[in-house]
């Protein structure tokens, strides 16, 4: 086999080699390089020699534990409460800085819940990473179905023979053509807490009843705001893919369905949707991958804040690798992200496989 590959004509190899070289240098090599770096303590610029640290980086990122805090009790054994009536617990430091429990050393609280009088505290070695993980998954789980469904709706709407339909196609596609950085900058003005367009619009619509919200400055609205903007920005791209799928469906199938007496919904259910199966798989995988790579919006709009409420995996990878010069930590996040996306893509492919 190898000999027949090499025998094939030289011009072909001549054309292919530049592309191979570029892909090799900028994709394949960094890919393996990231694996290697994630197993070391390499800094971006450092006079110290690189040391091999095994899976320490992974342990530092993924270390999670649950500890139980018993309430402070008075001498008579009753539970002590503060002025507001809340149960008083010992400080978490009593666990994380206790020589009796060295395995929890350096860990910080992620979140807690109460169980009876006890408090269960989830502690993590890297709380910021955990928040980034949760935010990224939230983003994917909301954006993927919403964006895909919205794009399909738009595609169905513009797949009609109407006068001037191309104008609508153009309008819906425009945000895709504009750089995400520019879009993010513009949406910062829309979301502005002082004099933003959205606040003005909402207070205008409610005759001043609406209290202005600092959409990006409030931990409870920041991620949602970025999600809405991201859905809006890329929906046109997926609309075009859906549209391409729609146009491969033979019009005769719709006519046959009409003759058989299909309602609009039945036409969609029995003709359109099965005809879009492959398109749907493609769109789902593409959106999922794009969502996991969420970075530019965060970098331009919130830088991960406020209170880490918009941290994401890629933003953390960049922030650590270049901001904090911890290139091995950034590489570790990249490798984890790769594994996550790989698993999800495989699961999606399996779920949407052709059943015979």
């Amino acid at each position: 086999m190898a000999s027949s590959l090499l025998r094939s004509d030289r011009a072909g190899w001549g054309f292919a080699i530049p592309a191979f070289a570029l892909i090799g240098t900028f994709i394949v090599l960094p890919f393996f390089f990231a694996f290697y770096l994630s197993l070391t303590n390499q800094r971006l610029i450092s006079p110290n020699p690189t040391e091999f640290v095994g899976i320490d980086n992974y342990r530092n990122l993924l270390g999670v534990a649950v500890v139980t805090l018993e309430p402070e009790r008075g001498d008579d054994g009753t539970v002590l409460r503060d002025e507001d009536g809340n149960i008083e617990y010992p400080s978490l430091r009593s666990v994380t800085r206790n020589d009796d429990t060295p395995q929890y050393r350096g860990m910080r609280e992620w979140f807690r819940w109460s169980s009876g009088d006890d408090a269960r505290v989830v502690i993590a070695r890297d709380v910021v990473f955990m928040k980034a993980l949760v935010n990224t998954f939230t983003f994917v789980l909301v954006v993927a179905p919403c964006q895909a469904a919205l794009a399909l709706g738009l595609a169905l709407l513009i797949n009609q023979r109407l006068r001037g339909i191309n104008v609508f196609r153009g309008i819906y596609y425009m945000p895709v053509v504009v750089s995400i950085v520019v879009v993010s900058l513009l949406w910062r003005f829309i979301y502005d807490g002082q004099d933003g367009l959205l606040n003005n619009l909402l207070s205008g619509l409610t005759f001043g009843m609406f209290q202005p919200v600092d959409w990006l400055g409030n931990p409870s609205t920041a991620l949602g705001s970025i999600i809405v903007m991201s859905i809006w920005q890329a929906v046109g791209f997926h609309m075009v893919i859906w549209l391409a799928g729609l146009q491969t469906i033979s019009p005769t199938l719709y006519e046959a369905a009409d003759i058989e007496g299909a309602t609009k919904w039945q036409r969609f259910r029995f003709v359109t949707w099965p005809g879009l199966r492959n398109t749907a798989v493609l769109i789902l995988i593409v959106i999922t991958m794009q969502c996991f790579a969420l970075f530019a919006q965060i970098d331009v709009m919130t830088k991960g804040g406020p209170l880490d409420s918009t941290q994401t995996l890629v933003f953390q990878a960049v922030e650590r690798g270049y901001g904090k010069q911890d290139i091995s930590g950034g590489s570790t996040i990249s490798v984890l992200l790769f594994l996550i996306v790989l698993c999800i893509s495989l699961i999606q492919r399996w779920l949407t496989r052709e059943r015979t």
């Binding site: 033979s250 005769t252 199938l253 006519e255 046959a256 369905a257 009409d258 003759i259 058989e260 007496g261 299909a262 309602t263 039945q266 029995f270 003709v271 099965p274 005809g275 199966r277 015979t356």
Partner: protein
């Protein structure tokens, strides 16, 4: 079973008129074939009957009910498409049952009807396959099966055999003929293939440019074509036409001749032939017999012969340079370039007042 009546049916796309006032009556259980060259509007007319195209003006009645504005499913029709239009993601069973599924028919009844259709079409063994595993003929069977289970008053076929190879086409043609006999439903069948039209039809409608040229039984059209177009369209090889001078006009017919044709008398069938004017003579190749060069009424030289075994098709160049084709019902060797005479029975010839175009 239902009657279908088209009254002055028209179809316009903006300024362009594609169906120019069509009147057709179809009786219960009749097999009607719309035939014509491509672009004649036959498919459009069928789609208008199906409800896939709007009717610009005129009325369409199915079973005595005006259905102009009814959606397809309320017209009591079923349609079989040229491209089969079966759903690729469904099994044969699901495809056949599609209409019943849509209308929410109980499962038992659905299965009974599907089984019945499969029996009629002899495709019981195909029911659990997918369309991708079927041949063209089998796919067309599925499409017909889907039509049968709906038990429609009218079957519409839009060039159903065009995508099949020649041998299969003949088989399916016979099957459709048998199907018509067993179902006894009204059928409208669109084709550009005159053999399908001649063999299947109770009644043929010949269309050209959105107008009906002639309606009648196959033999009526073959033996008594109303005009040059119908005469030339039906029959293979197609009818020979030659421009002739009308020498005399009598009660028996007209005496005609030209540079290659000796004077003969041909019936005018009431057509407005003018003495001293021109007319067009039509004679089918099958009615022309070869004779010795000095006999017969046409004279020329053999240009080409095609020997088909059972038939010999001779292309003869007449003295005035025009071409005539004779189809001789036997194997005959004729040397190209040799002189030949041709004769025919004037009673089998047609005289048209239209000029050749």
């Amino acid at each position: 079973m239902a009657t279908i009546r088209l009254k002055d049916v028209r179809k316009n796309y903006g300024e362009v008129q594609v169906i120019k006032g069509v009147n057709i009556d179809i009786d219960e259980g009749e097999f009607v074939v719309f035939v014509g060259p491509s672009g004649c509007g036959k498919s459009t007319l069928l789609r208008m009957i199906a409800g896939l195209e709007d009717i610009s003006s005129g009325t369409l009645e199915i079973g005595g009910r005006v259905v102009n504005d009814l959606p397809p499913k309320e017209r009591g029709i079923a349609m079989v498409f040229q491209s089969y239009a079966i759903f690729p993601h469904m099994t044969v069973r699901e495809n056949v049952a599609f209409g019943l599924t849509l209308s929410g028919t109980p499962k038992a009844e659905k299965e009974r009807k599907v089984a019945e259709a499969a029996r009629i079409l002899q495709m019981e063994h195909l029911l659990d396959r997918r369309p991708s595993q079927l041949s063209g003929g089998q796919r067309q069977r599925v499409a017909i099966g889907r039509a049968i289970v709906r038990d429609p008053a009218v079957f519409l076929f839009d060039e159903p055999l065009s995508n099949l190879d020649a041998a299969l086409r003949m088989d399916m043609r016979m099957e459709i003929g048998k199907l018509h006999q067993s179902l006894n439903a009204s059928m409208i069948y669109v084709t550009h293939d005159q053999v399908e039209a001649m063999t299947l039809a109770d009644k043929i409608v010949v269309l050209r440019g959105g107008e009906v040229m002639q309606i009648g039984s196959p033999m009526e059209l073959y033996h008594n074509p109303a005009n040059l177009f119908v005469a030339g369209f039906l029959g293979a090889p197609s009818m020979n036409f030659m421009t002739v001078d009308v020498r005399d006009l009598g009660a028996e017919g007209a005496t005609i001749a030209n540079g290659s044709l000796d004077p003969i008398s041909v019936g005018t069938k009431g057509r407005p032939i003018v003495k001293g004017g021109k007319a067009t003579l039509g004679i089918r190749p099958q009615y022309i017999q070869p004779t010795a060069p000095d006999q017969g009424m046409l004279h020329g030289t053999v240009a080409l012969t095609e020997r088909l075994g059972s038939e010999t098709v001779v292309d003869v160049t007449l003295r005035d340079g025009s071409q005539v084709i004779a189809a001789i019902a036997e194997d005959r060797v004729l040397q190209p370039g040799s002189e030949i005479g041709l004769s025919f029975d004037p009673a089998l010839a047609h005289l048209f007042d239209e000029a050749l175009t």
